[in-house]
Assembly symmetry: C2
Homo-oligomer: 360 residues x 2
């Protein structure tokens, strides 16, 4: 087995321990005589798997009792419609646009009501998080929406917006479980699992009870109502069972590793040494405003497109893969989620130093 350091933005690296366990259990899950992929979602054995996953997630994030945990499908993109469909009561919502995903979410929401963009960082290619301490929030707004970590640009909210009492909805796809979160500050958070949690095809939503409503417009599909899934314990129809099982293993792994406090410390250290290097380098630089830097996605450029390409290629040849930046912004990006070991980041820095020396 030849494992690489995989800096993909998502789907992304998973703990090797989790993958090994999954491989061992593939044909016969704990003496059941079948794979988790083959199990009825109505069986007690699968019920145990999903119950344990939820319980471990609740423990890990300290999710309050008045919030439901939902295992959904369709990616964050489907939530872009589900959020306004379910949460727009007055038909008004406020969005803060800090990247492509927040922009897409805002656009999708215009189908269902009046959307106000409270703030945007598009003027500087989304390289910063706008000041959100004094926003002109609509009095009728049903919620304020953010994308908390911006995978493409490598930015992150270090302070949540002052929503003036309105419910905060956050797409946390690329930062969920990377550090402790106070769920009480949100009405709803959701995350596509494929970045920091598990395989693609699972979305985890954590929603406060009172936001789960049934009096929705007729056109809202049954499958897009949070109530449908909340009432059924995420088993209204067949859920993405295998993905949930893998997420559950990741939760257990994180608990064993010391929980989210320990993750935060590790992640700050990993990102810290990489940003320190970038700040000192004469060849590589990070295009993000210092106070907005992501812990999970570190973007960097040489300032020369050809050199960027050469770097990505040479790094891959050394087993440092998927360092190419998002197609819309170019450059490089190192996604250093929980499962990226410190050694991966150290190897990357060592290689960058070497590359810089060779190309001086």
């Amino acid at each position: 087995m030849n494992r690489v350091y995989n800096f993909s933005a998502g789907p992304a690296c998973l703990p090797l321990e989790v993958l090994k366990e999954a491989a061992e259990e593939m044909c016969d899950y704990r003496g059941s005589g079948m794979s988790v992929m083959e199990m009825s979602h109505r069986s007690s054995i699968f019920q145990d798997i999903i119950d344990e996953a939820e319980a471990d997630l609740r423990k890990l994030v300290k999710i309050p009792d008045n919030y439901k945990v939902l295992f959904l499908q369709g990616g964050a993109s489907q939530q872009f419609a589900a959020v306004p469909m379910n949460l727009m009561k007055n038909g008004v919502a406020d969005y803060i646009v800090t990247g492509q995903w927040a922009k897409k979410a805002a656009k999708e929401a215009t189908k269902y009501g009046k959307v106000k963009v409270l703030a945007s960082s598009e003027n500087k290619v989304f390289s910063y998080i706008p000041d959100c301490s004094s926003l002109d929030i609509d009095g009728d707004a049903d919620y304020v929406y953010i994308c908390e970590n911006n995978t493409i640009y490598g930015t992150k909210y270090h302070t949540l917006p002052d929503t003036k009492g309105k419910d905060l909805v956050a797409d946390v796809s690329s930062c969920f479980l990377s550090e402790p979160t106070d769920i009480n500050k949100y009405g709803l958070v959701f995350a596509g699992a494929q970045k920091n949690v598990g395989p693609a095809g699972v979305v985890i939503a954590v929603i406060r009870d009172d936001l789960i409503r049934d009096d929705l417009p007729e056109y809202v599909p049954t499958m897009l109502k949070y109530k449908t899934h909340a009432d059924a314990g995420s088993l209204y129809n067949t859920p993405p069972c295998y993905g949930i099982y893998i997420c559950g293993k990741v939760f257990k792994h994180l608990i064993k590793e010391g929980g989210l406090e320990a993750m935060k410390e590790k992640n700050e250290h990993k990102a810290g040494i990489l940003y320190d290097f970038l700040d000192e380098s004469k060849m590589f630089s990070n295009p993000v405003e210092r106070g907005s830097r992501s812990l999970m996605n570190v973007t960097f450029v040489t300032g020369n497109e050809e050199l960027d390409k050469e770097f990505v290629k040479a790094a891959a040849a050394r087993g440092l893969v998927n360092l190419k930046g998002h197609r819309t912004v170019g450059g490089m990006r190192a996604s250093i989620y929980n499962a990226m070991p410190l050694e991966g980041v150290e190897s990357l820095i060592a290689f960058m130093k070497e590359f810089e020396k060779e190309h001086r």
Copy 2:
């Protein structure tokens, strides 16, 4: 490793060969140094996986060039909304109700237009497929909808309805790939993978090009438009990558086993010996009208609820598991999809004979 014979209706048994390969490739897919779960969906290596899966499926089912293959999420239940949202042009659709799933689909469609139930078998607990040779099809109907194999009741259309030129839409979740299908007879077929194809969390839709439209009502979520996924080759957002990879392995396995003609022969033989036994038995009987019997889901009862329970329990102790009928109908059900070996059905029959003798 101790494998059981798993008669689950879905998620259901998969070919052991497929699971073994997946286990071997879990931590390092073909020298890539990563799991398929960890791969960027924008990488060439994953593009090859999805392209190969589609090409193999097209070969297997002989899908004509003017049909698109889509890998979607959300289960058949989400298609219950997507179908009328995308296909209702006149706002009218005709449904044939042969079970719980068709009934749910018809109900969901009423949100989006006028729905006429052309025929129903609810009067006899869905134990037969109605005569569909001379239906009173609405002149304005945008499509005629069926659920081709009814998993809960063990029925199947042996002749497709005469739709009088209207497009036929079929939920083929529990019979897809069980025998050759002439796709030209349908406008759209869709299947939740978790019955006869792969793991839960993948839906495969095959849709004729001209039914993929963009002029849909404003409220249709981007993620529920077939056009979104058709235009992006099922990569508009992150698809359920690992599930697609497993489906691809199943397609290759079926091609190797002789394709759908060979599957049909095997499936007819497996179902044949089981129905023959049920017809001869003095204890067990199949409640379905003979001309409507499913090849995939064989339902049976003893006529005594306590005895049914005892049978299910005793069978499980012998490694014949998940034989309990659907909670809404009771009794027993043996789902004998492609991946159920003949030996599994033979073992079941042998055990039923033994049980019958003991309880005479």
